[in-house]
C-alpha cells in the first residue's frame, strides 16, 4: 500500500502580497498544482471610474508600494495619447531617469532582501547582515540611490507625488542632477561588485522551454515605450494587446491569468527583457551579460537574479545618460485640455510588461480603465514552471520541497498586491492511481 503524504505550509515569506501554493502528488506525478492568490481584491478598476484625469497618477501609485512609478508611467502615457499632449524630449529623458530609480529600488530590494537568503539558506537579510554586514550595507547604499532619484522627481519613494500629465510637478535643477550624477558614478563600481557577489552564490539552475515577452524599442533598452514582442515572433503594438493575449479567471486566484492565444503561458520580467534586448544593453550591461553567458544559454527563471543585477547596471547607465544630457524643458509640463478618447499603453515595470487601457469622458474623467500587471501575466507560467520542478524534488523532505518551490516562485518576484493581489504552500502526496483502474 502506498503511503499518502500531505504537506501544508502556513505561510510563504519574502514575497509582496498574500497567497498559497497547493500541490497534490500521486506517486511521482503532479496531479494538481495551484498557485492560490487570495489577497483580497481592492477593485481599482472599478473605483477609478469617474475619477479626474489629473488625479490618476496619484491614485494608481496606490496599487503597489514597490512599483508605483510603473503604474504612474503607463497611465500618464495613455492619457497623453488621448489628449494629444506632446512630450518634450527633456521630460522624456527625465522619465527614463525616474523609471531607473524604481528599477534600482525594486531590484535591489528583491536581490538582497527577498532572494539572497534563499542562496545562503537563511531566513532573511538581517541574518545575512550578522555575518556579511558589508554586503547588505552595500546593497542598501545602492538602493538608496534609487530612492534618491524617486525623491528628486517624486518627492518620496513610496506613492511619489511629482508626476502629472505631460511631465513633472517640478523639474530638478542642474545642480541637483549633477550632484546625483556624481554619486551614481562613484557607486557604479559597487553595483558591479554586488553582481560579482551574487555570481559567487550557489544560485540553482532550472532551464526550460518558455515564451518570453518584453517591450522592444528601436534603439533603447525598453522602459517607457516600445512594441510588445516575444521569443516566438510575436510583435504587436500596445493597442493590439487583446489580439495576442487573453485574460481568464481561475477559481483559486483573485488575479486573472494571462495566456497567449493558442500557445499558453509566457514569462515577463527582467530575464525576458535582457534576453530579448541584449543588443540594446549599455556597454557595462553587455560586459556583465557576457560574464554570465552560460546562465543565459537557455531561458532559466532561476537566472532572473542575474538579469536584475545586469539591469541595476543598465539603470545606472540610463540614469547617467539622462543626467549628462539634461537640458531644462521649457516648462515642467505643458498645458493640456481633456477630451474624450481611448488609448492603450505598456511600460516595463521592474517585474515586466505593465499594460493599461483607458477611456475618458469629454471632461477627462475616466470612463473605463483596464490594468494588466506583470504578476498576473506570470501566474500561469509560475504554475507551469513548478509542474516541471516538483517531480524532481519528491525524494526530498516536505520542508525541502516547500523551500525549493518558494524559491522558484520568488524568482518571478511576484507582486501580489498588484495582481490583486502571498503564499502558503500545501503539498498533498496521494498514492498513485492503479494503472488498471
Amino acid at each position: 500500500m502506498t503511503e499518502r503524504r500531505t504537506i501544508e505550509v502556513g505561510a510563504f515569506a519574502r514575497v509582496e502580497g498574500e497567497g498559497a501554493l497547493h500541490v497534490a502528488v500521486e506517486g511521482d506525478r503532479v496531479a494538481e498544482l495551484r498557485l492560490q492568490i487570495y489577497e483580497p481584491p481592492r477593485f481599482f478598476e472599478s473605483f477609478l471610474r469617474g475619477r479626474a484625469a489629473s488625479e490618476l497618477p496619484d491614485l494608481v501609485a496606490r496599487i503597489c508600494g514597490i512599483c508605483p512609478v510603473a503604474y504612474q508611467m503607463s497611465v500618464v502615457h495613455a492619457l497623453e495619447q488621448i489628449f494629444g499632449v506632446r512630450i518634450d524630449p527633456a521630460i522624456r529623458s527625465l522619465r527614463r531617469l525616474y523609471y531607473a530609480g524604481e528599477w534600482l529600488e525594486s531590484h535591489l530590494l528583491h536581490m538582497m532582501f527577498l532572494a539572497a537568503p534563499d542562496y545562503l539558506g537563511l531566513d532573511d537579510a538581517l541574518a545575512i547582515a550578522r555575518t556579511q554586514r558589508g554586503e547588505v550595507e552595500r546593497a542598501l547604499r545602492l538602493r538608496r540611490l534609487g530612492n534618491r532619484i524617486l525623491e528628486l522627481l517624486g518627492g518620496r519613494p513610496v506613492n511619489p507625488v511629482g508626476v502629472v500629465v505631460g511631465g513633472f510637478v517640478r523639474i530638478p535643477t542642474r545642480g541637483e542632477l549633477a550632484a546625483l550624477g556624481d554619486d551614481l558614478r562613484r557607486a557604479r563600481g559597487e553595483a558591479e561588485a554586488l553582481l560579482r557577489w551574487f555570481q559567487g552564490l550557489p544560485v540553482p539552475r532550472r532551464p526550460q522551454e518558455v515564451e518570453l515577452v518584453a517591450l522592444r524599442h528601436p534603439h533603447e533598452y525598453p522602459m517607457n515605450e516600445g512594441r510588445i514582442v516575444s521569443s516566438a515572433g510575436l510583435d504587436v503594438a500596445a493597442g493590439e494587446f487583446d489580439s495576442a493575449f487573453e485574460e481568464t479567471q481561475v477559481e483559486h486566484s483573485t488575479a486573472l491569468h494571462c495566456h497567449i492565444h493558442g500557445r499558453g503561458s509566457y514569462m515577463v520580467g527582467p530575464l525576458a527583457r535582457v534576453l530579448l534586448n541584449r543588443d540594446r544593453l549599455s556597454p557595462t550591461g553587455e560586459a556583465a551579460f557576457a560574464s554570465l553567458a552560460d546562465r543565459f544559454e537557455a531561458p532559466d527563471p532561476a537566472a532572473s537574479v542575474f538579469a536584475r543585477g545586469i539591469e541595476v547596471l543598465q539603470a545606472f547607465d540610463a540614469a547617467l545618460e539622462a543626467i549628462d544630457g539634461f537640458e531644462p524643458p521649457p516648462a515642467p509640463h505643458p498645458a493640456w485640455r481633456p477630451c474624450a478618447g481611448r488609448a492603450a499603453w505598456a511600460t516595463e515595470a521592474p517585474r515586466g510588461v505593465l499594460w493599461v487601457e483607458l477611456a475618458t469622458e469629454v471632461s477627462g474623467h475616466v470612463r473605463e480603465i483596464r490594468i494588466v500587471p506583470p504578476t498576473s501575466q506570470n501566474q500561469a507560467r509560475i504554475e507551469d514552471d513548478l509542474r516541471g520542478l516538483v517531480p524532481g524534488l519528491l525524494k526530498l523532505s516536505d520542508d525541502q520541497v516547500r523551500r525549493r518551490c518558494e524559491a522558484a516562485i520568488r524568482d518571478y518576484d511576484p507582486c501580489i498586491s498588484c495582481a490583486t493581489h502571498f503564499l502558503t504552500l500545501e503539498l498533498e502526496r496521494r498514492p498513485p492511481r492503479c494503472a488498471s483502474s
Partner: protein, 260 residues
Amino acid sequence: MNGKPKLAVFKFASCDGCQVSVLNLEEELLALAERVDIAFFLEATSRIDPGPYDVALVEGSITTEEDVERIHRVRAASRTLVTIGVCATSGGIQALRNTADVEAWKREVYPHPEWIRALPTSTPISDHVKVDAEIQGCPVNKHQVLRVLLRALLGATPDLPGASVCMECKRRGQVCVLVAKGSPCLGPITRAGCGALCPSLGRDCYACFGPADDPNPASLAERLQQLGVSRRDVVLRLRGVAGWRPEFRAVADRLEGGRD
C-alpha cells in the same frame, strides 16, 4: 530570544507601501534589529514566531471575513497594537467601495464573481479591535514609525502632531499654494506629518495623511468652489485616499446630495 522585545508586522488589504517604508529605514532597521527581535514580518523574513508579541505594527484594512477573524488573533497575541498607514486607520483608498455596489463591481472584473470572497466594505482596524496608537499617512512617514515604536518599547504613549499641513508649510517658510496660486490644496484640513511635501514641490496637498484635529472641510470645500473647482471635483478630492474618514465623508455626502 535573549529577552529582547518582540516586534511583529502584519499586512491586511494594502499596497505594502507602509511595510516598504519600514524597510526604507535601512541602517536604522539593522540597528533596530539589534535591540528588538523581529519575530514576524512576512514581507522581509521567512521566520515565523507565533508570538506573543510586545508590539505589532498593522498595515492594511479589513475587507474579508477571514481578515476579521485574523485581526482578532493578532490583537490577542499583541501587547501593544499600532496601526500604520491610512488603509489601517481609515479603510484606505479601497474604502471607495463602501458606497458602491460591490457585487456589480465583482461582475465587471471577474467572469465568475461567485469565486470572489470580499466584504462589501473596507474598514479601519479600529472598527474591529482596540488600537493602542495610529500612525497616519499614505504611506507613513518612516521616522514617525521609528519614533512611535521606540516610545512603545519604553512604555510611553505616542506624540504625533495633530495640527494641519499649513503649520508645516509655515515652519518651512513655504509660500501658500492655495492663496498664491489658487491650487485646490487640502493642506488646511490635512494632518501634518509629511513635512508639507506637496506644497514644497509647488503643488496642492491631497490629504494622504487624513484629517487634522478639528478640521473644517465644509469651509474649504466652499473656498475650492469659489476658485473654480467644480462641485464634482471637490467631492472627488474629499473622497480620496482617506475619504472614508467621517470628517471628510460627511461633507462629501452633503455636497453630492446638493445640500451645501
